[in-house]
Structure formats: structure tokens, C-alpha cells
């Protein structure tokens, strides 16, 4: 590999290096910069500046050549990413195309990636639920993976900390399984959703709450949000294009510009991290080797502390590729578990129906959020023939009545649409169990055009997941029937793992260095100045959308790293 360390050593030395600028990397950058550390953020993709680089954000539907639809050519060229609901004409420029970054599917895995400044934080579904001890205690109670080294009380103040800055809308529901946060005013459940919520409270004696989702939207911006240059969410529900108001939280609208304003951030796009440099003599990591994605030259950068936030699977890749005489199998990988025990969320199950009620009511405007049913299965104790459970999305909408006929008759219907029967729908978000043979590894032979080993992915559904899909269908059908919904239909999309975009693990946290890679502060047990705070650190997956937890873990880990640096324990 040709090194091109054109800049002097001094210009290439920082107080902290953060690999990745997505939702967790952005937080690491903000926290370090706020505390005055000269921070280098390395992003493998191009720069995407807030507003300036949202080319479709103000386009009307008719201004899209294909009205938002993908062409046959694009679908054929992108059999994987075109399955993603947000990969459409208005946002496909924010996704990795299949041919650009190949990987090996040992079993079907739809790897959805966003290689740019901000990563997938531009594209996420923005649902932000806290974990509770029902989640953190899961592995220990049910005997899988390893015990989490932290509990809710460790993370609660950090959830509050990141929620206040990010701006989270939600209702204080007082549920132990889904702790309340620092909420901005909630979005509204619509009439049918409210009816369903009330009906379920009666039928299931409050054991199956149906609530409005908690989401990263500024329903009522506070000073801290205005200070970021963000404004009130306008309910455009076009978030995947990038929001000109900064109405939802993304690295691009929030943490990155904030960190840049401190003058402490060096943001370097087009920089793929090849590996982390480990110094045998010093017994620590000293920096990173970076490939310029344009010139393909390699440069080394140095810092006393390194945060790996490359997104779950790519964080595994960077660590596996960081070999040295001390760590021949990847950085911190003394126990051979690096890349193993990866898991995801099971999004296969859907249930749809109609509701004949509320004929005189409808909704107005759009809502970038939906109803949410927190996990109710196996919550207090094991009660089914499968482990763990699922949360569910729930939403009702009033479509137009069907329009039939021809000519002037049809035209009259089209010109003045009448409301049809309410539709209701739900999808599951199931916990999957991390297993040793559910893993990622580096292909021994194939390299990409930048000389990085190609990732091999081996993830799959197991019997537990199949039973869970079945139970979700049975339970939701029973709930829909109890509510008087009609035309109930169930669907198993059989979608491959990955399309949930919630891949997690491989560098799991734990108490024991023999069975985990990271300690309770997200530090590699065996290389204390390297921290992993993205999805790779997750010991188990539970059912919540995970980004909020990554943010909280990141802020907490930076706080710890700063304290350790002050004590002289990290140099």
C-alpha cells in the first residue's frame, strides 16, 4: 500500500478520531468538540451539507419524471437496495447502489447503506423509544447471548441528555416497559387509532397499550433547537429527501453543523478507514489508516482516543481488518467472537383490515409518525413457546373511495374524491436472538476497488423467529377482531434480514472479556482507547428502533473517555 503522508505529522494528529458521521458518529463529534477537543471525523462517502445538498427537497410530485417511481432499469441494477421503502426517485441519491459496494451473501441479506456525511441519519424512520430493564435484563433472564453490563439507570440520564438536544416528540404514557423521555408535544392519534387504543385498554385490561410513536421531530422547538438552526417540523412527511426546516434530527441538520461551529471539528469526507493502527510497544491504538476514495492513496492519522461509528457491520469490518502481531484476528479479538452474535429485527409480519366506523370523520395534513404498540409478549414472564417478543406499528388512514367507470362519470369521481372506508394496518418489529453462527467475516480473497476486504454476511431467521411471526399474526388478528375491524388479512413478507436496517452486534458489550468485546463503557476490553458506540456494540436487539440508544451510549462513552483522559488513563 502506498502511503502518502503529505501533511506533516502535526497536521495529522488530533485529540480524538471518530470513524463515521452517521447518527452515533455525529454525536461523538459534537460531544468531543463541545469539550474543546480537536476532533477528526472520517466519512467514507461524499459531503452532504444541510439544505445545500438536498436536491429534491422542495419538488412537487409532478416534478419527478416518474412521479417518484423507480424505473425498471434501476430496479434491475439494484435488486437489493430497490427493496427498501425509501429508495425511490426522490431519495435514491442518498443510498449505496448495489454495484458500488458489493458484499457476499452467505445467506440472503439486504444490506441497506447510506455512504455520505450524515449516513443513514438522513434516511431513518425517526422512531425513538427508550429501552427499559425489561430489555436490558432480557439475555440474563431468558438465557441467551450474555448479560448486558448496564441497566436502565445507567443510560436514563443520557437518554434525557440526547433527547433534549435532538428533540423528541412523544406522550408521557407512564409505561414501565417503555420509559417516558424528555418529550416535545406529541403527535395526535387519529379517531380510529384512539378508538382502537381505548378498546384494547378495555379488552386487555391495559396490558396492551396503543400509543402515539415517539419520534425525532420538533413539534415545538426549544431554544436549544433554534440554536442549531432548526425550526418547527412542518409535517411534510418527506423526510428522506432531507428537511429544509431541520424538522427531524439528522447529523446533517444538528450535530455536525453544531460541532463545526465550535471550530474544533475537521470533517473529512471521501475517507474510508482501512484499519486502526495498534502499537505493540505502547499497548494501545495510535491512529487510523485512511484510504482517500478518490485518489486511492493512504494516509495515517493519529489521536489518543478513537471512536468507531462506521455503522454496525462496517464497524465489524474495520476492526476485523485491524490486524497486528498482538491482534492477528482483528483488534480486541482475543476471544474470537468479533463479528459473531450479530442480529437484527424481524419485520416480516403485517396485518391489514378495514373499519366501517367513523364515516363522518377524516384526517387533515400529514403526520411523520404513527401509532405504536410496545412489546406485550413474554414481558413479565415467559408465556409462549418462543423467547422474547415484538413491538408493532399501528396506523389508520382514510383513503379515497374506489373510483369506477369511464369518461365523464369517472372524471367527476376523480375531480371530487369521496372518502372511502377507513383502513388500518400494523407491522411487527420482533427481537431476534443473537447466535454465534449468525456472523459477519472478511472474505479471504475478494477485495473492493479500494483494496478493502469484501464483507461476508451470514444472518438468518431461526425457529424462534418463525414462531414469533405466527404469534404476531394470531395476536393482532384477535385484537383487530375485538375492535370490530373487518376484511382482516395477514401477510408474511418473508423479507430477508437486513431490510429492517436494524442490524446489530458483532462487537458486543459484556462484563467478561472472555465472552464479550466491549466493557460497560463501550471500550474494547483489550484496547482501552478504542470505543464502539454504534449498532455493533449491541448485546441483544430488543424491539425498539435502536438509534436513540446508540446516541445515548455515545454521549455516555464520550463523557467517560473525557474523564479517563483527564485522569491520564487514555493518552
Amino acid at each position: 500500500m502506498g502511503y502518502l503522508n503529505t501533511k506533516g505529522l502535526k497536521e495529522r494528529t488530533f485529540d480524538a478520531i471518530v470513524i463515521g458521521s452517521g447518527i452515533s458518529g455525529g454525536w461523538a463529534a459534537k460531544e468531543f468538540c463541545d469539550k474543546g477537543l480537536n476532533t477528526l471525523v472520517l466519512e467514507r462517502g461524499r459531503d452532504v451539507k444541510h439544505n445545500k445538498d438536498y436536491p429534491t427537497t422542495n419538488m412537487y410530485p409532478w416534478q419527478f419524471e416518474h412521479r417518484g417511481q423507480l424505473t425498471n432499469e434501476i430496479i434491475k441494477e439494484n435488486p437489493v437496495v430497490s427493496k427498501c421503502y425509501a429508495f425511490r426517485e426522490d431519495a435514491m441519491h442518498f443510498f449505496v447502489k448495489d454495484k458500488e459496494h458489493p458484499y457476499v451473501q452467505e445467506k440472503p441479506f439486504d444490506w441497506i447503506r447510506g455512504y455520505q456525511v450524515g449516513g443513514k441519519s438522513l434516511l431513518w424512520a425517526r422512531q425513538t423509544q427508550r429501552w427499559s430493564d425489561f430489555d436490558f435484563e432480557g439475555p440474563a433472564r431468558d438465557g441467551f447471548a450474555v448479560d448486558w453490563p448496564i441497566r436502565y439507570k445507567d443510560l436514563a440520564p443520557w437518554y434525557s441528555y440526547v433527547e433534549k438536544f435532538a428533540g423528541i416528540t412523544g406522550n408521557k404514557d407512564g409505561l414501565p416497559q417503555l420509559p417516558d423521555g424528555e418529550f416535545l408535544p406529541p403527535h395526535e392519534l387519529n379517531c380510529v387509532e384512539k378508538y382502537f387504543s381505548g378498546k384494547m385498554a378495555t379488552v386487555y385490561n391495559n396490558s396492551r397499550p396503543v400509543i402515539i410513536g415517539r419520534a425525532a421531530h420538533l413539534t415545538k422547538p426549544q431554544q436549544i433547537h433554534l440554536d442549531q438552526g432548526r425550526a418547527q417540523c412542518q409535517s411534510r412527511d418527506l423526510c428522506q429527501r432531507g428537511c429544509p426546516f431541520g424538522g427531524y434530527f439528522s447529523s446533517n441538520a444538528s450535530t455536525i453543523p453544531w460541532a463545526l461551529r465550535t471550530g474544533k471539528l475537521t470533517l473529512q469526507p471521501n475517507s474510508t478507514v482501512h484499519s486502526i493502527i495498534y502499537d505493540d510497544k505502547a499497548g494501545k491504538a495510535t491512529g487510523v489508516r485512511v484510504i482517500d476514495t478518490v485518489s486511492k492513496t493512504t494516509t495515517e492519522y493519529f489521536a489518543p482516543v478513537i471512536f468507531v461509528n462506521a455503522a454496525a457491520l462496517n464497524t465489524n469490518l474495520v476492526l476485523l481488518n485491524s490486524t497486528s502481531s498482538r491482534f492477528p484476528n482483528g483488534l480486541g479479538n482475543d476471544n474470537g467472537l468479533l463479528g459473531k452474535y450479530v442480529a437484527f429485527h424481524n419485520y416480516r409480519g403485517h396485518v391489514n383490515a378495514k373499519y366501517e366506523g367513523f364515516p363522518d370523520s377524516t384526517t387533515e395534513g400529514r403526520r411523520p409518525n404513527s401509532g405504536y404498540i410496545p412489546r406485550f409478549r413474554n414481558l413479565h414472564k415467559q408465556e409462549t413457546n418462543f423467547l422474547r417478543g415484538y413491538a408493532a406499528g399501528f396506523g389508520a388512514y382514510r383513503p379515497n373511495a374506489p373510483m369506477n367507470g369511464w369518461g365523464t362519470d369517472l372524471k367527476a369521481q376523480l375531480d371530487k374524491p369521496k372518502p372511502g372506508v377507513w383502513g388500518v394496518g400494523s407491522h411487527m418489529m420482533g427481537e431476534t436472538i443473537p447466535k454465534e453462527n449468525s456472523m459477519v467475516s472478511l472474505d479471504p480473497n475478494q477485495k473492493d476497488e479500494w483494496g478493502m476486504p469484501v464483507m461476508r454476511i451470514n444472518m438468518f431467521y431461526d425457529d424462534n423467529d418463525e414462531k414469533m411471526v405466527q404469534d404476531y399474526h394470531e395476536q393482532l388478528v384477535a385484537m383487530f377482531e375485538a375492535a370490530g375491524f373487518t376484511d382482516i388479512s395477514t401477510n408474511d413478507s418473508k423479507q430477508a434480514p437486513g431490510l429492517d436496517i436494524h442490524e446489530m452486534g458483532g462487537v458486543r458489550m459484556g462484563k467478561d472479556p472472555k465472552t464479550s468485546l466491549l466493557n460497560k463503557w463501550n471500550q474494547l476490553h483489550a484496547c482501552k482507547n478504542v470505543f464502539v458506540t454504534d449498532g455493533a456494540c449491541m448485546t441483544s436487539t430488543s424491539t425498539q428502533n435502536p438509534s436513540l440508544t446508540y446516541m445515548a451510549l455515545t454521549a455516555r462513552a464520550v463523557d467517560y473517555a473525557l474523564a479517563e483522559m483527564k485522569k491520564g488513563n487514555l493518552k
Partner: protein, 158 residues
């Protein structure tokens, strides 16, 4: 027809002409470049008149004014998967042949014919989509709000 309606129609016609490529009225030439679908200029003219059967011009613009047959052709050509395009293409051929024998054959009639119904339904749905997703429809009839500003979960049906 009063002056107000004439003026309105002139505005709509302006919008419709702007939508159409400049070569629309050239003879014996397709007014749209197609990559996969093969049609003749005569078939294009026929499709234009079939579109008007779905959404006719009344005292407001219809398919012909809005050039919806061109939208339909573009969507089929660019977005249909191979199987759908094949079905559409074969259906169009069958329809053209049937119409050459019976000049009065229309799309509505074809929708009830076992051999022609797939084509009729596919084309109808493209025209309906073109209409409801046209700038005219989304500004004048059922205005699309780029910035709704909020959400109300329960309002009386208007």
C-alpha cells in the same frame, strides 16, 4: 361559452402544450422517444383518443389536453417490468388489430373482452394516474400541500 371559461381554458391549454414535447404535431413521427416499447405513429394517435375515453375533455381539461397518453407511454416504457411491458405491448397489438376490423371499438368495450381486458385496464390505470398526478390536478382540483404545517387526527368530512 362565456369569456371567463374561455380564458380558463386558454390557461389550461397553455399548461398542456408546455407539457408536450415540441414535436407532437409532426406527421408520421412519434412525439416521444421510447426505449423498449415499439409503437407506430398511428398507434400513438389511437392511444391519444383512447385516453380521452378514460378522462374526456369536458368544460375542464381531459387526457388529450394534458397529453396523458404520452405520460402513459413513458411510464410503461421506463417503469414496467419486462413481463408487464410484454403484456402491454401484446395487448396493444391485439387491440390495434381488433380495431382495424371494427373501427368503433373503444377501451371501455375492450375492458369487457377476455382477450383485451388486461391491456384496457393497464392503459386506463396509467391514464388515471397521469391525470391525478398532473400539475393541473394537483394544483387546481385536489391541491397537493408541500408544507401542510400539521396534522389533525379527527376532522369532519367536508
Amino acid at each position: 361559452m362565456n369569456r371567463r371559461i374561455v380564458l380558463k381554458q386558454m390557461i389550461w391549454m397553455g399548461a398542456a402544450i408546455a407539457f408536450m414535447p415540441s414535436c407532437v404535431y409532426k406527421q408520421d413521427k412519434l412525439s416521444i422517444q421510447l426505449k423498449r416499447l415499439q409503437i407506430s405513429p398511428d398507434q400513438e394517435k389511437m392511444l391519444a383518443s383512447l385516453a380521452d375515453e378514460v378522462v374526456p375533455t369536458t368544460n375542464t381539461p381531459g387526457a388529450a389536453d394534458l397529453g396523458l397518453h404520452l405520460f402513459a407511454l413513458k411510464m410503461a416504457d421506463d417503469c414496467f417490468d419486462d413481463a408487464s411491458l410484454q403484456k402491454f405491448s401484446a395487448g396493444l397489438k391485439q387491440f390495434t388489430e381488433a380495431k382495424s376490423k371494427k373501427a368503433t371499438l373503444g377501451l371501455q368495450q375492450a375492458a369487457d373482452d377476455a382477450a383485451l381486458k388486461d391491456f384496457a385496464r393497464m392503459y386506463k390505470s396509467l391514464i388515471v394516474r397521469g391525470y391525478t398526478q398532473s400539475e393541473y390536478y394537483m394544483t387546481k382540483l385536489v391541491p397537493y400541500q408541500l408544507i401542510p404545517g400539521g396534522y389533525k387526527g379527527c376532522v369532519p368530512v367536508a
